[in-house]
Symmetry: D2
């Protein structure tokens, strides 16, 4: 979707709706033009991209688009390498075309690193941003070696799975000084040893878990209750979705990671933890669509109990794709500014932002805009 959308944008087939970096405030920040971006990737599912994109785009009600940018999809296809799945949980491992057979994480990382270098050379790109948009992994079990880079380097040479795929790609990216963005709730680069590696190599990273739907709404709406001193008694959210991500989340082990990521921002914004629950269920018939229903029960003056409900009906990939373009452009800018480590200013894009406790969209976004215009302070 990101690749198809990028091609459609570059050809002027669509307007840049949904791209944060196309807002007026971003115009003079020196971001790389969209046309200068080149895409490659790792994929664990089989089949030509044009077909997969066509399915998704049809579901989203845009059947003609895959054809209109078919050549761009085919070109991209040629730049895809098979992905690593070991440690990704039974759902992801079962997808099959991934490379499970390597003997150690170090070997797997070396293969990925070689893929990245080959891509950079072949496409003649100067800088590279690895973006994790894979399905959610089960909650990672903290490995003792995670706390220190040297220990980690030893551990990954053994046969044990030390780094789940999301972290392995971060390792591979950092090794070459490249940036890594974690658009999923999987652990990614949130491992101290990987943080050390990023600093050491001058690599940028950001994450985690793209904020695209229900949580996005929460991160503005909760302010209303906070600023009006209305006491949230309970906030119940239920998501139903029908795409591949939804299917993977059917597995309780993957769902656990996701629900954890969605459920902590209320306490941060409100200043107290209300009763809250987030449910996610797979409803196949919805295809690419996601519907969220939230019921907010709150107390006002004199103890009066009132309620608000909302439903959000969005096409998940359509909401996420432009943010990936935004993130790549912003991380690239940070790279060119000589920053290293966590790109804290990218918080508005994430459910679980690294390097900050700020969960309020408006504040996150204002901070991002300030960062844009104040290049020297990272």
């Amino acid at each position: 979707m990101t690749v198809a959308g990028h091609a459609a944008l570059c050809r002027g087939l669509v307007e840049p709706v949904g791209l944060v970096t196309e807002r007026a405030e971003f115009a003079s920040a020196g971001l790389a033009p969209l046309e200068s971006l080149v895409f490659g990737g790792h994929e664990v599912r089989g089949g030509p991209l044009r077909e997969m994109a066509d399915g998704v785009l049809r579901d989203c009600g845009m059947p003609g688009l895959a054809t209109a940018v078919g050549d761009a999809l085919d070109e991209y296809d040629a730049r895809i390498a098979p992905g690593v799945v070991r440690g990704g949980g039974r759902q992801i491992e079962a997808m099959g075309t991934g490379r499970l057979e390597v003997g150690s994480d170090a070997e797997a990382a070396a293969i990925v690193r070689a893929d990245l270098d080959a891509f950079k050379k072949r496409c003649k790109v100067d800088r590279l941003v690895v973006v994790n948009v894979a399905s959610t992994e089960p909650p990672a079990v903290r490995h003792p070696s995670w706390s220190d880079l040297d220990t980690l380097r030893v551990a990954i040479r053994g046969p044990e799975v030390v780094l789940p795929p999301s972290a392995l790609y971060a390792y591979a990216a950092f090794e070459g000084g490249d940036a890594y963005v974690n658009f999923t709730p999987s652990v990614g680069s949130r491992i101290p040893a990987l943080g050390q590696l990023a600093e050491e190599r001058g690599a940028i990273h950001a994450g985690a878990d793209g904020k695209t739907g229900e949580t996005l709404v929460k991160s503005v709406l909760a302010e209303l209750f906070a600023r009006r001193q209305l006491r949230v008694l309970s906030w119940f959210g239920q998501n139903i979705l029908g795409n591949e991500d939804g299917r993977v989340l059917e597995d309780p082990e993957n769902k656990a990671t996701k629900v954890r990521s969605k459920d902590h921002l209320l306490a941060k914004i409100l200043g107290y933890p209300p009763e809250s629950k987030v449910g996610i269920d797979y409803v196949r018939s919805l295809g690419e669509w996601k519907v969220a229903w939230d019921h907010i029960h709150f107390e006002g003056f004199l103890g009066q109990r009132m309620s608000m409900q909302f439903t959000w009906k969005g096409c998940d990939s359509v909401l996420a794709a432009p943010l990936v373009l935004d993130l790549v452009r912003l991380v690239d800018l940070a790279q060119r500014r000589g920053e290293r480590g966590v790109a804290v200013a990218l918080a508005p894009f994430f459910k679980d932002p690294m390097g900050t406790c700020e969960q309020r969209l408006v504040h996150q976004d204002e901070t991002l805009v300030e960062w844009l215009s104040a290049p020297t302070s990272s």
Copy 2:
């Protein structure tokens, strides 16, 4: 409701939920303690307050409260003077117990001013804030004398209705240097000549139209679409409510004022005017409850059309009452700080804030908090 709630708060019967000025940030601003406030008023409807309050509180599911604070209501009752209704539109004029028979606006203003002075003397209060919480008037027709204070002073001596009630009270308040807050969409003090009068007498004023429900939600939610560059195609809002205000709004002439006040903030926040409509209908069975349904149709990446809906179910008077307490305390602080004219910092309380174009709740609120801690800059 405000009076009953104030009494309940002072007696410790309820917690200060729903009061903005009870948030931690407001603790050291030097606001008057709630216990120091004394209430009086003008009323156009008949009947003892205890009975009216009991009806409203029962509707809101708090049947015991009117009894618990009955003595405070009775005391307040003794401080009520009959209200002026001439120029309030056929709905308000029909309420009957108001004073229509005065010969000129000047006479009416003098009567109100005398009531205010009597109240101050009797209750031994130093400062006074007149808050307009009457039903919405029809859209006021601009009178030629409004543009200049001297001209206005002449005009109101004639038999013509020059100032609708909402403006007449502002005039009377300012004449004695007292403050005026317009909690309704009626014209109130938004008349140049009244602005001159306030400046001349060192009076504070603020308004207009308390932001309590659907518009409050809009003023946070619209930011989501603005900051994510999601294009709002249409925003349709429908309100149903069953109280006296709803009944008055049944009349198209009063409804026009209200709908105008609710419908302009989207363009301000989004930066472009989306297709939008706001409906208000009276549904008697709802009593004090108001239900709003909003349907937001928006476009994302690749032209994909998506939607969000929300319903807000609140008790209107319960949402408004604590804000009246907040406004009185904040205006009083401004008075003590020696400010005069429009209290711009009070924007977060209003649908149509005077003195600023800022419609975003979060920004309005941050400005208020800054004002609190920076007393010398008004």
Copy 3:
């Protein structure tokens, strides 16, 4: 949409979803095969059908369909005659391409009758059903001549507009013994003199106002409250829609007819009239989509007040089109069975069924199924 859908069905491009007459109970009733139907029509808007259909189908998310059945649409185009608009209200009259210039209703009826005869001859069809699917007319003012056929025949020879277009087509159809179905809330054949004419010529008629969305839901849902003795206090419905019909309904004179048709069935089903309102607003961005929000406030045991809300999001033309096919097949069957006058059994298709007070969908449908299997009793 009906013509395009019919072609798509006959070519096996789509399944017969949404067609009542394709339910198992209807299989052995001797209905005409879909393939045997031929379509013609009168149209007041300009432009080739293929283009108009393409616009509608795109809006509904079916962009390929107009092309797939383009030849059928072109053929149909050749069978379209310009429509009569005089008396249709300012919105419809403004559409322009209609024939306004005839000197009398009798002349207009003769032209329409000639069109129908030409169509029957040219397409070699034995029986014909005229279906009114035009935009809603303003409420018709009862003309004195309506009560008697002979008087009507005299009146329509004068220059006055006696019959609005919806009734004029019924007149023309009946004159030739052909059937007439009123899918709109306009007056159509609900004029005593037209009833006499239908009986006299052995013509069938049915109506009025296709039951496709919010009212359809009401006609099943209200039974819940009736059968459980739950007291409906208020039922508020709000419809927003973006197509041509919606635009015409913007005009208060056309809206009045529609709202009247939607708002009377609750009293019939519940046995008492609850407080109720139905709003219709035009929201252009919705295109062919209609969204209805209903709020039902009801009282249960011990006076407890509870509520139900629903939203219905449907594509109006997609919901209506198959019902037109159903109605044509069923009226045709009634014709072959030798029935005449109002086809009472067709009540389930209409918001305001002729010949019966029954508003409950389930009962209406059971009656229809009984009628199917009991051919001799009309």
Copy 4:
């Protein structure tokens, strides 16, 4: 709630809203007057009834009622015996005040039977109906002895738990020829051996699982889709509730029974099984209130996908209580008519009706009304 409501009804404090048996059609059926009913019960929770009722009634917004009928509640209190909990699952067993210590099911049944006889004698009632309104038990594991009465009689003399509480009460009721109604999804009398016992002793039984909220809506709404040949692709329902029943349902073993009972009627009504899920979550802040959100995704003509959503906000006990009164009166009538075994005509009251596959509320209700007026055919 039932007892309090009954007292309030008998004293004329409230109108008989929500009682099916107070509809006009039931007036001449010879039902026992409400005043003639006397209540007793078994309870596994401690505390005086007046207090428990007060809590529930406050939650429902009826704080005065418990006081108004306090004496009736106190009288009832004196007729409460401690309940049996063994075999009710860990949640119910933990409630503590129940009698766990009996040596065998036979002993437990004998104690219950003795309680029933004592109640009948003391209150001088001729006929008795045991109604199970306890919290939902975990799914019962079928015991080999269930298929035959003689085997069952032997089995329950051993130390093993053979009958969960819901079935044990049925056994005890039938032993004395008394009726049993299962208002819960627990197994109750749906055990072949118990069916034999009821027939043998001439006892009536009915069940299972009171149809009060979301499922009630489904049982009318699904007809719309069936009769219009609209294809339901998925029907997702989510319930949130805050009372004791909700807390018990938090336990997955109890929830399994409930979800099973709610999820099978769609296939029956539609004629095919759509994708469907029903979720139940405990949200403490809701107290006695239950909110259900259902999302129905359906396909219409030309494959167009549309959707309907509803939210139902009801007070569970307020919806259930009058149905218990209805059931007692109707079962009593069946007893007096000399019927025995399953009272099939009572299907409209249940999610999972015994003795019939009919799930459509309208048909169930029509059958009940027919049964009323045709006493001799059971």
